[in-house]
Symmetry: C2
Subunit: 199 residues, 2 copies
Amino acid sequence: MEYFPAPLEALVEQFARLPGIGGKTAQRLAFHVLSLPEEDAQAFADAIVTAKRTVTYCPVCRNFTAGGLCPICSSPKRDNSVICVVADPRDVAAMERGREFNGKYHVLHGVISPMNHVGPDDIAIKPLLERVAQGGVEEVIMATNPDTEGEATAMYIARLLKPFEVKVTRLAYGIPVGGHLEFADDATLARALEGRREL
Amino acid sequence: MEYFPAPLEALVEQFARLPGIGGKTAQRLAFHVLSLPEEDAQAFADAIVTAKRTVTYCPVCRNFTAGGLCPICSSPKRDNSVICVVADPRDVAAMERGREFNGKYHVLHGVISPMNHVGPDDIAIKPLLERVAQGGVEEVIMATNPDTEGEATAMYIARLLKPFEVKVTRLAYGIPVGGHLEFADDATLARALEGRREL
């Protein structure tokens, strides 16, 4: 493609690099940016740079934070004795929407997946064990997705947690099997939390 | 949503403003940006600002240009006596991929669409008439999409061009009726150009 000016081609290429965005969509998005008022385009660019520069991982739970402890980890209202382990920051958002859970989180940033060459050391399992080893934790709720990899990851972590004599539970199968936590409705998530069982 | 740090929420919101990008996709794209190396995120932001600042419309054909006349309008190798009228800059790219056409273009930036409150004055018809009035044009090829609005726009412009005694042609129906020029394959476009008929 050399039918558009180079800066436009460069923008199309940037959009096309995003996951799930094909060539035609990238073109459409780039054209849309050109149709924006200059201050809106600038605001979009600023949002990218600002998010990238300021958003980091919470040193305790590994969820996103704008620096220092995340709002949940630093909240005195949240129960320190329960840790809910999720695969992805989006799952924290899904749990929070349910308003049933008042403990803390731990974000693994992935699940064990030999098919995709993701081993136990590639996700945040070690920091979880360190948190539990520090004491004060009574229950760890495994809230990985109810699919094969999520199940396997939950079982794997449950086994590692055995020596710490902490209660390890799993979200009940209120969540449709094979589905994804991110898309569960609030009622289903609440019931899954309510019916959690010991591993 | 207040489960993510404000700069991340702001970025999600920016993505969600793009046409055809829903909330879940916006989240996915924002997370992807956070996972990029800082220089890549900066390059993305720079591409937006640079494209917006430097890309304008060609004063002659209204296609995108990085300043001044577009490469096609300023090329001495292109035939000045034939103007191909398209609705969108993407259609210029589609025509150029076909490699059959060696004239100039005119980009309307839309079609007449009473349903969407787009009248003849909302698209670049007047600049086209001014170009033809300057003389030297022997043929105007109407290459709007072969759907109702594209047809109506072509007929409308053909009528306005009558006084200038210029040949006005329409792309042949090699293009599937009801389809969009942008998605036509090169061979179909070539045949459509070849079989154009006088309006």
